[in-house]
Symmetry: C2
Subunit: 294 residues, 2 copies
C-alpha cells in the first residue's frame, strides 16, 4: 500500500477534526486560542492519531470516534511539546520548522496553552461519540496513566532532564524512552482498540505492537538527530549530543541502533499477524517509522 | 457551630487523604513526587475540598467519595497556583508563607509538577469510589470545563494577565473573578452534589450557593491584599496595586467591596435554605469566607 498517500489523507482528516474541536481564534479570550491553534497547526505528522485510527479500524471501529480520540491524544502530545520546548526545559526555538509557542506568544501564554490543550483533551475524551461510559472511563484512565509521573510521559521527561550530562546506562535509557514517548504511543493503539471493542487477546496484540513501534520510533528519532540537518528536521539537529543527552546512538553506535530499530519493527509486525488484511496500514506504518527521514 | 474547629478537623482528614493519593517521595522519579508533595503540603485552607465535602454531606453523600473528589480538586487548584507563581506569570516567590515551587525545585520541575497534579486529578476522578460511571463522567466534564479557556480558570488567568496595567471595567472584572476562581469554587459544591445524587433543584441551589460564595471569596481576597500584611497573608501583600491588577477595591473602594461581599454571602445562604439543619456547615463556611483575615 502507498503509506505516504494513506498518511496524507488521514492527516487531512485529522486536521479538519482538530479544527472543529478547538475553540475558534475569535473566541474570547482570543490569545490563548490563537496560541493553542498555532502549536497544533504548526506541522507534525499526526503519527499518534493515525496509529489510533489504524488500530481501531483494523477491528471495525467507528471513524468519528477514532478521529476524536486521535485528536484528543494529539492535543495532549502537543501540550507536552510546548512545555518541553520552554526555556526552563529544553529551550528550543524551533519545532516542526517554525518558531516554538513561547517564541511567538511569550512564556506565560505558552505555559497556559499547554495547560489548555491537556484540559481540552479530557473534555473531549469524556464525550467520545459512540462509546459506553465504561469504555470512555477506561480511555481516560489509560491516557492519564500514560502521561503521568510513574512510567508515563512526565516521569520520562523528569529522568531525561536529570540525566543530561551524566553517564546513562541501558536500563535508564530504556526507562526514558519507554516512559517519555513510548507510553503515549502505546496508548494510541490500545485506546484505538478499546474504542473498537477489542477483546483481551486483540488488545494485548495492539499493546505489544504499540510498545515495539514506540521504542523503534524513539531510536530512529535519536538516529535522525545525529544524521540529519536542522533544516530537514525542522528543529535543531545535533542537540542531543550537545547537551549530552542519553540516546541509543550515543550508547550503542549508529549501526547497532539501526539494527535494533529494525528488529523492533519486525516484532511489532509479527504481533499483529492475527488481524490479516485489515492490519495492512499498521504494518506499513511500522515500516514507515523505520524508514522515515524526518 | 464552631466553624474553625470544623475546618481544622476536615483539613486533617483531607491532608491524610491527599497523602494517601499522591505517590510517595521515594517513588521513582523522586524529584517530581517531592515537588508535587511540597506544593500540596505547603499550607492552604483546603477550602475547595471542604466545600465539596460540606455540599455532598448535606445530601447524605459518602465521606470517602467526597474526600477523593475534594482531594482531586485540590490537586488541580494547586497545579494552577504553581503555574501562576512562575516567573513568566505572576512571579511570586512566596505562597502560603513558604517559598514557591519553582524557588525550591527550579522552573522546569515546577512546570512539570503542575502538569503532574492536573494529570493526577483526572486519574483520581476516573476511579471515584461508590459512583456510577455516568456520574464519574459528569464530574470529569465539570472539572475540565471549569478549568478550561472558555469561562474557566485558564480563561480568567489569561484575561487577568492581559489586563495588568490597563483600565478594567466592571464587566471585565466580573469575567476575571467568575472564571479565574469562581468556576472552580462552584464546581466544588456542584460536584459534591452530583456525587451525593443531587436532584436538579438541589443541584441548582448548590450551584447558586457556589457562585455567590465564589465571588465573595475573590472580593475578600482582593480586600485582604490591600488591608493585610505580607506576613499575615503568607504571600506578598499589596501586589495587586503594584502591578495595577484589576480588583474590586481598586474599582469600587474598600467599603463598597465589603458591602458587596456581605450581600453575596447572604444570597448564598438564602439559596440553601431548603436543606435545613444539614446545611449548617455550608452557612458557616459562607460567613467564614466573609470574615476571614487570611
Amino acid at each position: 500500500m502507498d503509506i505516504i498517500a494513506y498518511m496524507q489523507e488521514r492527516r487531512r482528516e485529522i486536521d479538519r477534526n482538530l479544527d472543529r474541536l478547538l475553540p475558534p481564534e475569535t473566541q474570547h479570550p482570543a490569545t490563548i486560542h490563537r496560541a493553542m491553534r498555532y502549536s497544533i497547526f504548526a506541522g507534525g505528522k499526526r503519527l499518534r492519531p493515525i496509529l489510533a485510527l489504524a488500530a481501531g479500524e483494523c477491528l471495525g471501529g467507528r471513524r468519528d470516534t477514532l478521529l476524536d480520540l486521535g485528536s484528543a491524544i494529539e492535543m495532549i502530545h502537543t501540550y507536552s511539546l510546548i512545555h518541553d520546548d520552554l526555556p526552563a526545559l529544553d529551550n528550543d526555538d524551533f519545532r516542526r520548522g517554525v518558531p516554538t509557542c513561547h517564541r511567538v506568544f511569550g512564556e506565560a501564554m505558552a505555559i497556559l496553552a499547554g495547560d489548555s490543550l491537556m484540559t481540552r483533551c479530557y473534555q473531549l475524551l469524556v464525550d467520545l461519540p459512540g462509546l459506553s461510559d465504561s469504555v470512555r472511563l477506561s480511555i481516560i484512565r489509560e491516557v492519564a496513566a500514560a502521561t503521568g509521573t510513574i512510567d508515563g510521559m512526565i516521569g520520562g521527561q523528569v529522568v531525561d532532564l536529570e540525566s543530561e550530562g551524566k553517564d546513562v546506562d541501558r536500563t535508564l535509557l530504556d526507562y526514558i524512552h519507554r516512559s517519555k514517548t513510548g507510553a503515549l504511543l502505546t496508548v494510541c493503539t490500545r485506546c484505538g482498540g478499546l474504542a473498537a471493542g477489542a477483546a483481551a487477546p486483540e488488545l494485548a496484540a495492539l499493546t505489544e505492537y504499540g510498545r515495539n513501534v514506540g521504542l523503534a520510533f524513539q531510536i530512529v528519532d535519536d538516529i535522525l538527530d545525529v544524521t540529519e540537518t536542522s533544516e530537514n528536521l525542522g528543529k535543531t539537529a545535533g542537540k542531543d549530543e550537545q547537551v549530552r543527552k542519553a540516546t541509543y546512538p550515543a550508547l550503542y553506535g549508529l549501526d547497532a541502533s539501526r539494527k535494533r530499530a529494525g528488529e523492533l519493527v519486525e516484532r511489532a509486525i509479527g504481533e499483529i499477524g492475527r488481524f490479516g488484511e485489515r492490519a495492512e496500514p499498521l504494518r506499513a506504518l511500522a515500516r514507515f517509522i523505520m524508514d522515515r527521514s524526518t
